[in-house]
């Protein structure tokens, strides 16, 4: 579908009305995953492996079951058998089978009459383990002799001779690397590492599950995508999808980490075993950190060549991605997007998906992209510095524009990288004076965005008010943007639209709110559904006026004769048409089901100023600017919110967040005290500039904005620290001990 050129002036899009769910969320009324109770419910608790890698010899739950009030214990034996591929991985991750594969891996679960009793009972389940050697580092896991997590996990893509822990291999490239490097005046080659970071949503996973022995069930849970939950749960339990109705609660953050399941199949299995009694299961924070998320960690080698005047001649990268005890690290995105900012003739990248004894990685905001950006944008920055070229200028010179051949193959469509660079250059932050021990860093990043399975409906009420029903949970204000797009399309007030998030029984399947797709894809679905309503209302008006439906137009909430030749009739409002709908053909509703493409990627450029304490190595963020292409900002406040939130998550990942494993393979920092996400006093205001290069693939020009924002911060901050200290750091996080050691080493060198 083409950009709607007939509507250059929007009445509502770009305004900032109050979000429809605002009142519920500031009064404590909004109901999140853990906020629903069912009469007679039981409470679940999960027993988790304290070992990084161990064979489960036996499980004896008799002592737990002997407690009064304990109603059910489940182990892997209570789940479906015969699963393969991703379904098997998901099931195995929710409940260990033969082996516990990481510290925190679920091995059994119990349902009892109170939460404390369930917790106590879980401790009484006796598990005999045979402890196996473990590995938690990506480079170690690839070495000969490293413990094998699971034999036979590798797919077709892995060449012979690699360690069985390498389960996927990806190689892509074009041009002639050798010739490209030969042309270069400057070649920089460096290796980089990033640690795993957790999505860090403040709401732990929670659900309320009921599953009868008749195979019919209901599930209430916090999720980014309840159809995904339904598919996974029914697969894990061996029931048909239609038998399970999943209703999403309000969701307390997800950032990718709630696009899969961890506890939902377990709660359903407990309910089934307890004879269909509802079971509530809520994770603790330490369970969240030990057994859900995090993102992959990475080990990367980058080599880039540049001419004296700053043209990139060649780039190559090797990306080793650690995704925990299962296949699925985002090796493809990391490799394909590594150099995607640039027009480069000669490129080659190789990616390895590597298993270790860590929790199964889950998607985290632009999964795979920030690590690659850290490596690549650090090297580009170093080259710019060495050649004495302004870092924005070097990106302006090499940045992709429409028609360029992308580094990963296809031609580049209309994108806004150059516009973000120009806006960053013009921003006062880029000219702000810097003091001693201060430095400025720049980096750009990209996310290609997503369409995906999408289903929505729009229905007209008897009074002309509009009910919009979508299947993408509202994580960050998407109800407001849906209502704005519907109201804009109908030409009615924003307040006349109410947006609902449907359960899995009420719409066709929907992918989750992920891939920065909700405003694009559900928005598109809402607009198209609204247009279908409008078309039907025009038919009703035409019938009333006894003229051809083609002679009726829709304008600002009214059906009107399209011109003097169509006849002279008083315009009919949406309310008037709705009031008569029973007598004019019945209900009026529109719907949309598709898997839309043309989602239009989003580029962003960040500029950050830091100060590094040379005596302690601590980095303070002084100023932060996010410039990003939104295509069209439907509700600018929530677009800015995405920019700011993404940037701050990136700041955390760059400076202090990391998974720390001890020699015993146990996670050492499974609480927020030591898993250090940024706090309010760590940060300045996060300045934003919304660039709008409309996406031709959306009627209002929307591009997804959620993910790009976490991609530039890692390199931007590393580049700023390099400018402030004169030392190039290649391992994240830039924690004070690391930075101070780097400063000291440089002094002695």
């Amino acid at each position: 579908m083409a950009l709607d050129g007939s509507k250059p002036q929007f009445k509502l899009l770009g305004t900032r009305p109050n979000r429809p769910d605002g009142l519920d969320k500031v009064t404590g009324r909004a109901r999140y995953g853990a906020d629903l109770n069912a009469p007679g419910q039981l409470h679940g608790a999960i027993l988790r492996s304290p070992h990084a890698h161990a064979r489960i010899v036996s499980i004896d739950a008799s002592k737990a079951l002997a407690l009064k009030g304990v109603k059910a214990v489940v182990t892997r034996a209570d789940f479906a058998t015969g699963l393969t591929g991703d379904d098997w991985n998901m099931q195995e991750n929710c409940m260990a089978g033969e082996k516990a594969l990481y510290d925190g891996h679920a091995v059994a679960a119990v349902a009892a009459t109170t939460p404390l009793l369930a917790k106590d009972a879980a401790k009484l389940i006796e598990v005999e383990y045979e402890i196996l050697p473990h590995v938690t580092d990506v480079d170690e896991a690839m070495k000969e002799g490293a413990p094998v997590i699971r034999d036979g996990a590798a797919d077709y893509s892995v060449p012979d001779g690699l360690h069985p822990n390498v389960v996927r291999y990806y190689e892509n490239g074009k041009g002639d690397l050798e010739a490209g490097f030969a042309e270069a005046d400057l070649i920089v080659e460096r290796s980089f590492k990033t640690e795993a970071a957790h999505q860090g949503y403040i709401e732990p996973h929670a659900c309320l599950a009921q599953l009868g022995t008749d195979g019919q069930g209901e599930l209430w849970c916090c999720t980014q995508g309840h159809w995904f939950v339904r598919q996974m749960c029914t697969a894990a339990l061996g029931i048909e999808t239609s038998q399970l109705k999943v209703t999403p609660s309000e969701i307390g953050g997800g950032f990718g980490g709630k696009t899969t399941v961890f506890i939902d199949p377990v709660a359903l299995a407990l309910s089934r075993k307890a004879g269909g009694t509802p079971v509530k299961l809520v994770m603790s924070r330490s369970e969240v950190l030990r057994a859900t998320g995090p993102t992959a960690s990475a080990s990367m080698d980058i080599k880039m060549g540049m001419t004296k005047d700053g043209r990139i001649t060649a780039a190559s990268g090797v990306f080793r991605m650690q995704g925990g005890a299962f296949p699925g690290a985002p090796v493809d995105v990391t490799t394909d997007l590594a150099f995607a900012n640039y027009r480069i003739e000669n490129v080659h990248h190789v990616g390895y998906d590597v298993m270790t004894n860590r929790p199964k990685q889950a998607a985290y905001r632009a999964p795979g992209a920030p690590m690659a950006a850290f490596a690549c944008e650090s090297v580009v920055d170093e080259m710019a510095t060495k050649l004495g070229i302004d870092p924005l200028d070097i990106r302006l010179k090499n940045g992709v524009v429409e028609g360029d051949r992308s580094t990963y193959g296809p031609k580049v469509k209309k994108v806004g990288l150059i516009e973000t660079l120009e806006a960053a250059k013009a921003h006062p932050n880029y000219a702000a004076p810097l003091g001693p021990n201060q430095g400025r860093g720049v980096a750009s990043g990209y996310w290609m965005n997503w369409g995906g399975d999408t289903s929505a409906s729009v229905a007209i009420g008897e009074d002309g008010a509009v009910a919009v029903t979508v299947g993408t949970p509202d994580i960050g204000g998407s109800r407001a943007s849906m209502a704005l797009m519907a109201a804009e399309t109908f030409g009615i007030p924003y307040e006349n639209v109410r947006v609902h998030i449907a359960d899995t029984a009420s719409l066709g399947i929907n992918e989750p709110t992920h891939g920065s797709r909700a405003t694009f894809a559900s928005g598109l679905a809402v607009i198209q559904s609204a247009k279908e309503c409008i078309q039907k209302m025009c038919v009703r008006a035409a019938e009333k006026w006894d003229i051809d439906p083609d002679a009726v137009t829709w304008e600002d909430g009214f059906a009107k004769p399209s011109g003097p030749n169509a006849g002279d009739f008083e315009p009919l409002s949406i309310a008037e048409i709705a009031g008569e709908m029973s007598d004019t053909g019945g209900p009026i509703a529109g719907h949309f089901e598709a898997n839309p493409g043309k989602f239009g990627g989003s580029f962003g450029t960040h500029v950050v100023d830091v100060e590094v304490d040379p005596e302690t190595g601590r980095t303070t963020i002084l100023r932060y600017l996010v410039v990003q292409d939104a295509g069209k900002a439907i509700h600018p406040s929530y677009v800015e919110g995405q920019f700011q939130g993404g940037a701050v998550q990136g700041i955390g990942w760059a400076l202090n967040e990391e998974y720390v494993y001890g020699p015993d393979g146990r996670l050492q920092n499974p609480i927020f005290l030591d898993y250090r996400v940024p706090v309010a006093s760590d940060l300045p205001m996060i300045d934003t500039v919304i660039v709008e290069v409309p996406n031709p693939g959306h009627p209002y020009g929307v591009r997804g904005v959620g993910e790009t924002g976490i991609t530039p911060p890692l390199p931007a901050i590393a580049n700023a620290v390099a400018a402030a200290t004169g030392v190039r750091f290649t391992e994240l996080p830039l924690s004070p001990p690391k930075v101070l050691a780097g400063i000291k080493a440089a002094k002695h060198a």
């Binding site: 190689e171 892509n172 985290y364």
Partner: protein
């Protein structure tokens, strides 16, 4: 005829070719033809790929039309957060 560009890792499964000329008017038809010409690619295609037709990434809709002169790139299946 439409051309399908393969990522490097796939080329060994297609007699070393980087570009394969295929027949078909939809994504499904050209992928079927690709596998018919190079059966070793079957597991890779079955594992799921994203397809970019003339620069536009099509997540999974195999009914999307392909023109005579379309430039098609296979990409690893992409996923967001």
């Amino acid at each position: 005829m439409p051309e399908i560009h393969l990522w490097s890792g796939l080329r060994s499964l297609a007699d070393g070719k980087e570009v394969v000329e295929v027949e078909g008017k939809t994504v499904r038809q050209v992928l079927d033809d690709l596998v018919a010409k190079h059966p070793a690619l079957a597991p890779a295609i079955a594992a799921g790929v994203s397809v970019a037709v003339d620069g536009e990434i099509l997540p999974s809709n195999k009914a999307e039309p392909v023109d005579e002169d379309s430039e098609i790139f296979l990409l690893n299946k992409l996923r967001g957060g």
